[in-house]
């Protein structure tokens, strides 16, 4: 009887011990599963957010591109046509006075230059050149236009085996480089710009270097131009790094 009681106590103790241990382990397992579910849920939300942001960015870029196309068409078809007509009219004028003729010739010259400039702008805004000739040709064309002004010495270097991307990607890259060049011209007071494209397996590194006055990278985080570049890179799943060696603060 006594032994039976002791055995019962022992069995009870073992049962309690194992139950308590199981309870602790079950709680831990529940927490682990709950956490895993939460992590998966958070990751899902994060994915959706990224997808949504990318879609938004894509629409933004498409709208921007559409605007560029409209301006390009307007410049080429409307303003260009009107200037050509004005030039034609001026050329057909029968003027005997030497001084007036000289002035008219000067005006014709200005209109011709303006037409060339407008054509360049139109070509620069248009995506046709990229779609038809590819990124490299479009870049070379853009650089030639800028070098023509004699204010800048822009060089393009290509390293590695060039691979072709779809038109949309090439257009985005082209616009990024265009934006960089536009920023350099507006703010950097640079005379020399080196653009380097490094092609490696499935990767493209673009480096745009100038000899300008530099800028405060942290202060210009909210700049429109830089943000455009950043957004475009994000759209392509890329990364942008802005570096500046010297910052001249105006006294």
């Amino acid at each position: 009887m006594f032994n039976k009681e002791v055995n019962n106590i022992i069995l009870f103790v073992i049962a309690i011990s194992i139950l308590m241990m199981q309870f602790a382990i079950i709680i831990a397992v529940i927490i682990f599963r709950h956490q895993k579910k939460k992590i998966l849920f958070d990751r899902g939300i994060e994915d959706l957010k990224t997808k949504h942001e990318n879609n938004l960015l894509k629409s933004q870029l498409q709208v921007q591109e559409q605007t560029f196309q409209n301006i390009s068409r307007e410049v080429h078809d409307n303003i260009g046509q009107k200037l050509t007509l004005a030039k034609l009219h001026l050329n057909t004028l029968d003027i005997s006075d030497y001084n007036i003729k000289k002035s008219v010739n000067d005006v014709v010259q200005i209109i011709t230059e303006s037409l060339t400039d407008l054509r360049d702008i139109s070509r620069s805004l248009s995506s046709e050149i990229i779609i038809n000739n590819g990124l490299i040709k479009a870049l070379e064309n853009e650089i030639n236009q800028l070098n023509k002004t004699c204010q800048y010495n822009i060089k393009l270097t290509i390293t590695g085996e060039v691979f072709f991307m779809d038109g949309e990607k090439e257009l985005v890259i082209f616009r990024m480089i265009q934006e960089s060049l536009s920023n350099i011209m507006k703010h950097a007071e640079a005379t020399k710009v080196d653009i380097a494209l490094f092609f490696s397996e499935n990767n493209l590194i673009i480096e745009v270097l100038d000899n300008g006055k530099g800028f405060d990278v942290s202060a210009s985080k909210n700049g429109n131009g830089l943000n455009n570049i950043r957004n475009r890179a994000q759209f392509l799943g890329g990364l942008v790094l802005f570096e500046s060696e010297k910052i001249k603060v105006p006294m």
């Binding site: 002791v6 106590i9 022992i10 103790v13 073992i14 309690i16 011990s17 194992i18 308590m20 241990m21 309870f23 602790a24 382990i25 709680i27 831990a28 529940i30 927490i31 682990f32 709950h34 956490q35 895993k36 939460k38 992590i39």
Partner: protein, 219 residues
């Protein structure tokens, strides 16, 4: 036969504790978060208590001194683990209440220790120690359940430490709490499984500590 198997289990436990100390030394400089570095102190004290117990149990030295040291180590064991758990909690809510609870339970352990013969294991003090640790460990688990950390819990060293403590305490507490009662009633217990439950619990706990150390060195 029962004695031999018990001795074997105890010796395995000693080996695991030594292993925990060695692994803590080996990983000392790589430990992250830094609080795990302090945990080495626990392994050192465990080994200081374990060495006389090992020799005493293997009948090389008299066990009285080893038991005394083991009894006194309850206070360190309890204080260290409680503060480790409190420090690892995801928030500080109710911390004052928990510290008051710790102070009261420590006073009770002290009272039990000074009123009994230190040369034999004071099981009621051990039981109180285990009970307190179960409470704090459960609070820790409840807190991380309601405030899930960003890092996966299996990658958090303190989680493994608390789980080790919980498993050891839940396995030991029921048996340890009735040991004094059985002894006072002259009941001879020779059931191998129940006799070795605390030792198995301690072995599991130190294995979990080794896991915690490994976890803390993972980049």
């Amino acid at each position: 036969m029962t004695y031999k198997i018990s001795l074997l289990i105890f010796n395995v436990q000693c080996l695991i504790i030594l292993g925990a100390l060695l692994s803590s030394f080996r990983m000392y400089y790589m430990c992250k978060p830094n609080y795990m570095k302090l945990f080495i102190l626990y392994s050192i004290v465990a080994n200081i208590v374990m060495v006389p117990l090992f020799f005493g149990t293997n009948k090389i030295f008299h066990i009285g001194f080893a038991n005394g040291l083991n009894n006194l180590s309850i206070v360190f064991n309890y204080t260290f683990l409680v503060f480790f758990i409190l420090f690892s909690m995801p928030d500080r809510k109710g911390i004052t209440l928990m510290i008051i609870g710790y102070a009261i339970s420590t006073c009770m352990i002290f009272f039990l220790l000074i009123n009994k013969n230190l040369k034999i294991p004071i099981q009621s003090a051990f039981a109180l120690n285990h009970f307190g640790l179960i409470c704090y460990g459960t609070v820790y688990l409840i807190k991380i359940f309601f405030k899930i950390p960003e890092k996966l819990i299996t990658e958090i060293p303190s989680f493994w430490v608390v789980m080790g403590v919980l498993i050891c305490s839940t396995l030991s507490f029921p048996f340890v709490s009735i040991l004094d009662f059985l002894r006072q009633n002259g009941i001879v217990y020779n059931n191998l499984l129940i006799l070795n439950l605390p030792n198995i619990g301690y072995s599991i706990m130190y294995l979990f500590f080794i896991k915690a150390f490994k976890c803390s060195t993972r980049k």
